[in-house]
């Protein structure tokens, strides 16, 4: 028996954890070490650290803070990874999986050499999507590739059995009560939904609250769902994972299979 993963995305700039809208409007949530420790205590299935400081450097300071405080929770990192030495160092520091942005698809030979050297399971390919003016048209955020090009390259990788886990992000999500996220996830292109090994991030807590049926459908299609700052909304809104994701946890609870993790 397996469980779908419910993880947390932790955005950061230098050593600060952030709440953000569209990766742009930012509010500090405090030091990464406290945020990482908080998430580990919630027993999220995985912590995914995304550095959004805008530099082309890996944020090793933040990675170190995460690893020191994640208490045996699987950790992934994304942001500024451009060469194999950085990948190697991140793995040596204790990062389990490395997130690569869609621009890496422009140089598939680099991607293949990474996969060959470190294993496909060490990488997650991040596809941040924007819906344009609320229409059913999508664009890859902050990237020169079009969605069609991204899909074509992904299908090619799939044909060659070289496709890692794909992380689809709703970039425009703004957290609680955002109806936009429901539209986004219900109308996402089917060619993307057909890909294997997918994880979803962005506005999922809102979706679970506003449209539980759509959320359950989404959960069936994805291997994992990740939430962001919904897990940091202050003590009055602290949620546990069972509340967040009853679709996943309800059937498992009856047989109590997760008792081993408590």
């Amino acid at each position: 028996m397996s469980t779908k993963r419910v993880g947390s995305v932790l955005l950061c700039d230098k050593d600060s954890a952030l709440h953000s809208l569209g990766f742009e409007e930012r509010l500090s949530l405090g030091p990464i070490k406290f945020a990482a420790s908080y998430l580990a205590n919630l027993e999220v299935d995985e912590i995914l650290l995304l550095s959004i400081d805008g530099s082309a450097e890996v944020n090793f300071l933040a990675v170190n803070e995460l690893i020191q405080n994640a208490k045996m929770t699987p950790c992934s990192y994304g942001g500024g990874v451009t060469n194999r030495n950085q990948v190697k160092k991140l793995i040596q520091m204790g990062i389990d999986r490395i997130i690569l942005g869609p621009r890496v698809l422009k140089k598939p030979e680099i991607l293949e050499s990474y996969f060959e050297e470190f294993g496909l399971e060490t990488f997650v390919l991040h596809i941040p999507l924007l819906r344009i003016c609320g229409e059913n048209i999508y664009k890859v955020w902050a990237n020169e590739l079009t969605l069609d090009e991204v899909q074509f390259k992904l299908l090619k990788l799939q044909e060659e059995s070289l496709i890692p886990e794909i992380m689809i992000t709703d970039v425009q999500s703004s957290g609680f009560g955002n109806r936009h996220s429901a539209d986004f996830w219900q109308e996402i292109p089917s060619s993307i939904l057909r890909l294997p090994n997918k994880l979803a991030y962005g506005g999922l807590y809102s979706l679970a609250q506003s449209n539980p049926h759509a959320y359950e459908l989404l959960v069936r299609q994805f291997n994992a769902v990740f939430v962001g700052s919904a897990l940091f909304q202050g003590t009055s809104r602290v949620i546990n994972l069972k509340e967040l994701n009853p679709a996943i946890y309800r059937p498992l609870e009856s047989a109590d299979p997760r008792k081993g993790r408590e």
């Binding site: 299935d45 699987p74 389990d96």
Partner: protein, 131 residues
């Protein structure tokens, strides 16, 4: 490794460390399997026919206690399936071997160091077995 094995000191192979204990692996080796340490006789192969990955939390069932088991974190594409001998300690529901043991050598396909409370319990048990 072989010296360590003869010395009787405990060894724990994790994930790729588990796979290296076997005869050979088909990972990244083209048509000729890569030679392993040969402490167990099976070959490491893709676990699913479509090369899908096994990433996440999976329940592991001990052979001697089939009615339950802890959840551990797995992240792999290659592994060992259906190994019927006394060295198998635990398996997943999909038939993937989760843990093997022979004398002082133990191997686990999952990551106890990333499996929160269950992992901590596993590692504590490993240390206590040998202390």
């Amino acid at each position: 490794m072989r010296t360590q094995r003869k010395s009787g000191k405990p060894v724990l192979g994790i994930c790729l460390g588990f796979q290296l204990l076997f005869d050979s692996s088909k990972e990244g080796s083209g048509s000729v399997p890569t030679k392993g340490l040969g402490l167990f006789s099976e070959t490491v192969e893709p676990i699913y026919s479509n090369f899908e990955m096994k990433t996440g939390w999976y329940q592991v069932k001990r052979q001697i206690m089939p009615l339950g088991g802890d959840f551990y974190y797995f992240n792999h594409r290659f592994g060992v399936k259906r190994m019927n001998n006394e060295n198998v300690v635990s398996v997943c529901a999909d038939g993937v071997i989760a843990e093997v043991r022979k004398d002082n050598i133990r191997g686990v396909q999952f990551h106890p160091e990333k499996s929160q409370h269950a992992g901590r319990r596993y590692l504590r048990g490993f240390i206590e077995d040998w202390s």
